[in-house]
């Protein structure tokens, strides 16, 4: 008999079966928790005060997961302020993304022939498929917001200052990783939305001087996005960026253990970091208090996400990517609107008074050797991140107190406001007040786009199938097609949209001529398929009569009507 077996038999002989097995199980349990016996864990879960000596600190030295968590926090950082739990929530969303992402990976092939079909399969043939996709998509957008807010709060509390400069540095890397993760994932469904958003994104890289075309070629694997580009984006999305992300989250977390979470600025002697000098009576132990606290916040965040994914949120899937047809109003993902806004800045240069505009043009062309677009999009855009990296080093002020940091805080505010303004300008319809950044086609094409967009849904497409009465219906405020209330309502809406464009010019100064008329024509193609066209008769800028026609096919069961 082996030595171990012998010992076991001896133990049974001396203490009996029951106690031997209980003790062996507890041993195994303790090894699993890296130092906590079953009774210790029970105490933790019941909220018992820690015994002395405290066994609950053992996992922090013994176990990997606990060793990147501190043994205790200062009481002052366990309230909502100063952290707002945003760092924790960033990590929570990152984890959710990894788990849901692995689920989606199982059903996905990164090839232009299969990707879109796979997406439809995930939505229509895989139980929980649509739920997982919604979680993954909404979680990604939430993560961008949460990470950005986390950065804003560490900036506001001055937590990037000595000795946490490197924490901030790894943070900026994580922000970039988060953005690139979102962006690379955007392409994968291979629908019109994703294909064109990413085409626009990578063509910005293309415009960069010297290395731009090479970077673009490396990203896309060919001059245009195709099989090579999709595979590369897929690999970046599931291997490269998650790997960088995991490594940097680990370093980031380690730095938080090393320096502690910075105390609220007013509790800190100026220029002296005291986060790790916590008097014993101010300590809040990680086990159980911080741990249960974090589990609660993680749980609540996940619950909100799960409810949203199960109810109101539906990740969009438009028609199959078509490299030959750019849909109207293609946009980058919203977190890159500010970059699009930057790209539009050149358009205001011609509006500036002649001499200034001329001088600026000269400056860009001769001194910098760049077109304004390249300057703003490719030089200034990435410079934003360089600026973020530099924050701890350009701010020499040792004090973290709000009162002492008026300049830095105002600069931060101005920066945030600028990004917000540029983001608004990045939307195709431009800043609501000034119209800056407006891009659009002729008025008729915009009306058609409003009611029958190239991608996504418009009012004309959501008319119930049996209310799509075959025939040509004039657009008028009191349309009265029998048995078709929704059709009549949409006809009136188109009428009002036209009237608006006849009386007010759009931000480009285009206006629809007074006599322009429109109609909606519906034809039966197959028993359960109709064609719906919007036909607008108008005069173009030269005064010539023109007809604008746009049409869609609508199937009875396409699930659009509501």
């Amino acid at each position: 008999m082996s030595v171990i077996g012998k010992r076991f038999v001896e133990q049974v002989k001396t203490t009996g079966w029951k106690s031997t097995i209980a003790q062996r199980l507890d041993d195994g349990f303790t090894r699993f928790t890296a130092g906590l016996s079953w009774n210790d864990v029970r105490g933790v879960l019941r909220g018992d005060p820690a015994p002395k000596p405290n066994p609950r600190v053992k996992p922090h030295t013994e176990a990997f997961w606990f060793h990147i968590r501190p043994t205790f926090y200062h009481e002052a950082v366990t309230t909502l302020y100063p952290t707002f739990r945003l760092g924790l929530l960033s990590a929570v969303f990152f984890t959710i993304e990894i788990i849901t992402g692995i689920f989606l990976m199982i059903f996905y092939t990164p090839s232009p022939e299969r990707a879109y079909t796979n997406m439809i399969d995930i939505l229509t043939n895989v139980p929980f498929g649509s739920f997982m996709r919604d979680l993954h998509r909404l979680g990604a957008e939430a993560m961008v917001i949460v990470v950005t807010l986390h950065m804003a709060r560490t900036f506001a509390t001055g937590s990037y200052k000595k000795p946490r400069q490197f924490t901030w540095f790894t943070g900026v890397v994580l922000l970039i990783v988060t953005l690139f993760l979102s962006f690379s994932g955007y392409l994968l469904p291979w629908d019109q939305l994703s294909f064109w958003a990413v085409t626009i994104g990578t063509s910005m890289a293309d415009a960069a001087p010297v290395f731009g075309p090479t970077v673009n070629l490396l990203l896309r694997g060919a001059p245009d996005i195709g099989a090579g580009g999709l595979l590369r984006f897929y690999l970046m999305h599931v291997v490269l960026f998650p790997l960088i992300g995991i490594i940097f989250v680990a370093v980031h977390y380690y730095k938080v253990v090393r320096w502690g979470i910075s105390l609220p600025p007013e509790m800190e002697p100026i220029g002296e970091d005291n986060a790790r000098k916590v008097p014993p009576d101010k300590r809040v132990n990680f086990l159980p208090d911080i741990a249960t606290n974090e589990i609660m916040y993680a749980g609540v965040a996940f619950a909100i996400l799960a409810i949203s994914a199960a109810t109101w949120y539906n990740a969009p899937l438009e028609t199959h990517a078509n490299p030959l047809a750019t849909p109207n109003h293609t946009v980058a993902p919203w977190y890159f609107y500010w970059l699009q806004g930057l790209l539009k800045i050149p358009h205001i240069i011609p509006i500036l008074p002649g001499p200034i505009a001329g001088a600026l043009d000269q400056f860009f062309a001769n001194v910098l050797g760049l077109t304004p677009k390249v300057f703003w999009g490719v030089i200034v855009g990435p410079l934003v991140f360089v600026l973020l990296f530099a924050v701890p080093y350009i701010d020499p002020n040792p004090s973290r107190r709000y009162g002492d940091r008026k300049i830095m805080l105002s600069l931060g505010g101005v920066f945030a406001a600028l990004i917000l303004y540029l983001s608004l300008a990045g939307i195709p319809t431009g800043v609501p007040v000034t119209g800056f950044g407006y891009v659009g086609g002729t008025p008729p094409s915009e009306i058609a786009q409003e009611f029958m967009p190239d991608e996504g849904e418009g009012e004309l497409m959501t008319i119930p199938f049996d209310q799509m009465i075959v025939g040509e219906h004039a657009v008028k405020p009191d349309a009265n097609v029998p048995n078709a209330p929704k059709l009549n309502q949409v006809l009136a809406e188109v009428y009002h949209s036209m009237e608006k464009r006849k009386t007010t010019a759009d931000p480009l100064g285009q206006i629809l001529n007074e006599e322009a008329t429109a109609s909606v024509k519906i034809t039966q193609i197959q028993p359960d398929l109709k064609q719906i066209s919007i036909i607008i008769n108008y005069l173009d800028t030269t005064g010539a009569a023109q007809q604008y026609v746009k049409y869609k096919f609508i199937h009875k069961d396409s699930g659009r009507a509501h």
Partner: protein, 299 residues
């Protein structure tokens, strides 16, 4: 004050355990609700919706690429392409041609690769390949969608009298009538037809493939039919002989609008109205001489 309260909030142990448990239950509930929904109805509903949308996409491809030869309603166009919506097509065609698979794959295969050799002299064109890898304009998924669209006719096949059925393979064909040799003047007329760009809109067997205006294969016969029709009498047309009708159609196309063109109702004002000015009178005579040979019964 309330802000201060929120900001300094530290949930008690009980709150943490309770909130955690409730969140946990909410997550389980969300999973169960989606799970039950998916396994009962939701997957099927989404499946129907997405399949319908693929048919919509297919319709667009069909109208852009196929309708000019197979007709908007899939009834086929004489000389251009056979019916893709008749009962015969859905019920017998696969057996007829000896295709050892389904009709779906037959449509897909023909559309992708085309038909390298004409299966019958009744076709004026060979079927072009449509798949991008074979030099065509369509991606594989677009062809899958157009197959879905064509199969969607199966629920209500179109069997009207004007359907152009594909001939059965190996069926003995009535020999094509030997064309009456053209006179030198008529040959010149044929060249004028091409040099004036009429071929961009009109089809004439062996000469032109245009599909915007009506096919002129049986122009003489058609002209005879039109001038005695009620529609013509109600129009501004004044012709009494086929030759006059053809002249009128060229110099004053608005006088009478032919009702049917390959892509549906004939558009008015599309055929240029200034040929009387651009084509010299002598040439016009030759052109009309040539056009009157089309479909004129041989004596």
């Amino acid at each position: 004050m309330i802000i201060k309260k929120i900001v300094t909030y530290r949930p008690s142990f009980t709150v943490r355990i309770l909130a955690g448990l409730i969140s946990f239950m909410v997550i389980i509930a969300a999973c169960m609700v989606t799970g039950v929904a998916d396994l009962t109805q939701a997957l099927t509903t989404r499946d129907t919706a997405y399949r319908s949308r693929l048919i919509e996409e297919g319709a667009r491809v069909y109208m852009d690429q196929c309708a000019r030869c197979h007709g908007v309603e899939g009834k086929g166009i004489e000389g251009q392409g056979p019916s893709l919506s008749s009962s015969n097509f859905f019920n017998n065609r696969v057996k007829e041609v000896g295709w050892n698979s389904t009709l779906e794959t037959y449509i897909a295969a023909v559309t992708k690769s085309g038909i390298p050799l004409k299966s019958s002299p009744m076709w004026e064109v060979t079927h072009p390949p449509f798949l991008d890898r074979f030099g065509g304009p369509l991606r594989e998924d677009q062809i899958d969608n157009v197959v879905r669209f064509i199969m969607n006719w199966r629920q209500a096949p179109i069997d009207t009298a004007d359907v152009v059925e594909a001939p059965k393979p190996g069926e003995a064909f009535a020999p094509m009538p030997t064309p009456v040799p053209l006179t030198a003047a008529q040959e010149e007329g044929k060249n004028l037809f091409l040099s004036n760009g009429c071929n961009a809109c009109h089809a004439i067997r062996g000469v032109a493939n245009g599909a915007i205006g009506p096919s002129l294969n049986k122009l003489y016969e058609d002209a005879l039919k039109w001038i005695s029709s009620e529609e013509y009498k109600a129009s501004q047309g004044k012709a009494t002989t086929p030759e006059e009708y053809i002249r009128e159609s060229i110099v004053n196309p608005q006088a009478f609008i032919v009702p049917e063109c390959p892509q549906g109702a004939c558009p008015a004002g599309v055929m240029p109205a200034n040929y009387a000015d651009t084509i010299p009178a002598a040439d016009l005579d030759k052109l009309i001489d040539y056009l009157s040979t089309l479909g004129r019964p041989t004596q």
